[in-house]
């Protein structure tokens, strides 16, 4: 019996390894053609060279405002299947994919993987992360979606960001060579870990708050302008990488929300030169979150 089973297994494996003579030249050329017209998704951390920082500051100033918020869904249940992660959904309620901000009547909530790319109309917008359905209400114009994981204010590079992969933990040392803190699925543990990230200073928290009717921890930190890190600095990590600040001097607000046994991670970055009203606008958006 065992011999027959082994023989069958060998045949299956041999068949699986049969040479089918795949020629990837054609698909490679097609892919590279598409790459020529495909922009990369900008990294969250600008190169820390002075000239780049100046350029970045110009962009930020030209845009007048910059607010970044990250929402990460940390599922305590098994991770979402690969095919459910990221990527824009489709909706009849979305704003046009290109062009400037447009004020439209409030759309009806529709559950999406994420709002499609382009400017977002005033009103409620829905999304799904790791099986958690939620929606946010935008009360002002000027927000846009990248179609994947973040919404931005005035089409700058910063805005709400919905993390594609769930953070697993917080760096004990975010400067290379990095040192990861322990993984955790406990909101209090993660919130406490945020307060001790080297290169940041605690502004407030952890504070018990409520988001969308669910208990949450709020922590506010600021990114040191004289960060000890060279070139890159990490804050929290997931299986494939980590989140890092958009620019030195940012103030970051993190909410970790407990939703029916799972965690939803939200973070926002406020530029040091952002207008003061943006923090309230950002907090209003978080306060508008509804879990469905």
């Amino acid at each position: 019996m065992t011999t027959e089973r082994d023989r069958s297994t060998r045949i299956v494996l041999s068949w699986l390894h049969e040479d089918a003579h795949e020629n990837a030249e054609r698909v490679l050329l097609r892919a590279l053609d598409e790459v020529d017209t495909t922009p990369q998704r900008r990294s969250w951390w600008p190169a820390r060279r002075y000239s780049d920082m100046q350029t970045y500051a110009k962009v930020a100033l030209a845009a007048a405002v910059a607010v970044a918020v990250v929402v990460a869904a940390i599922s305590l249940m098994p991770r979402a299947p690969v095919d459910e992660l990221g990527g824009p959904g489709t909706s009849a309620t979305s704003a046009p994919p290109t062009g400037g901000p447009t004020v439209l009547p409030s759309p009806s909530p529709v559950v999406l993987a994420f709002p499609p790319p382009g400017s977002l109309a005033i009103g409620r917008h829905s999304m799904t992360r790791s099986g958690i359905h939620m929606s946010i209400d935008l009360a002002t114009e000027g927000w846009g979606s990248d179609g994947s994981f973040k919404i931005v204010k005035n089409l700058t590079d910063a805005g709400f960001i919905f993390w594609v992969e769930a953070p697993d933990g917080v760096y004990e040392n975010g400067c290379p060579p990095v040192v990861k803190g322990p993984e955790s699925e406990d909101a209090a543990v993660l919130a406490a870990a945020i307060t001790g990230i080297p290169g940041t200073s605690l502004v407030s928290g952890p504070t018990d708050v409520t988001v969308g009717g669910h208990p949450a921890k709020e922590v506010v930190i600021s990114i040191a302008e004289d960060s000890p890190c060279v070139g890159v600095m990490y804050l929290w990590y997931d299986e494939f990488g980590g989140r890092w600040p958009d620019s030195l001097g940012d103030t970051m607000i993190v909410w970790i929300v407990e939703v029916d046994g799972a965690l939803v991670w939200i973070d926002a970055a406020l530029r040091k030169d952002s207008v003061a009203s943006l923090e309230q606008e950002m907090r209003d958006i978080v306060a508008s979150i509804e879990f469905e």
Partner: protein
């Protein structure tokens, strides 16, 4: 890879050339259709280019890129269910390593059996037995518990072996002798 992360398309071209053949081989074995496999490979390569700046640790490139490939295969698999109720037979240009007419029968039966498997099961089978990845690695790439990966592999191999053990195989093989 660092140059590609910074937007160097020529550097990405070299990177893509290194992995394209392997990606096509894997996706072809998962999807059982060369056109779907080419589309999935193309999707995966473009996704890698687009999201490469977000990959923090270059050491994780393999697992990360596999994940994008599998994701593309799932997307193509869904499309194939919608558009092509009958997939074409995977062309095999060369005889198998063992050769012989028996293998023609084996291949037909195995091809039928693997097409009956879901993309989930095929993916675990191919990543483990074709790409020689450990089940822990496969589970990590797919974002599933190890037990689920083990279960899928067990089911897939049982189905493939059962195809060989089918009552009509000896008769069919005998008929070709």
């Amino acid at each position: 890879m660092i140059r590609a992360q910074r937007g160097d398309r020529a550097a990405f071209g070299l990177l893509a050339a290194e992995i394209a053949t392997r990606f096509l081989a894997v996706s072809r074995r998962i999807l059982r259709d060369i056109d779907l496999a080419e589309d999935a490979t193309q999707q995966a390569l473009v996704a890698i280019w687009r999201d490469l700046p977000q990959l923090r640790d270059p050491a994780r490139f393999d697992a990360w890129s596999y994940r994008l490939l599998v994701r593309a295969c799932y997307a193509e698999g869904r499309r194939s269910r919608t558009w092509t109720p009958n997939l074409r037979v995977l062309a095999v240009d060369e005889p198998s390593v063992s050769g012989g007419l028996d293998d023609i029968v084996y291949r037909d039966q195995l091809e039928t059996a693997i097409r009956r498997l879901s993309v989930d099961h095929r993916t675990v089978l191919v990543l483990h037995h074709y790409e020689d990845l450990t089940l822990e690695r496969v589970a990590q790439i797919l974002g599933i518990p190890l037990g689920t990966a083990q279960s899928r592999l067990h089911y897939a191999m049982r189905a493939m072996r059962a195809a060989l053990d089918a009552d009509d195989r000896p008769a069919a093989a005998e008929a070709l002798r």
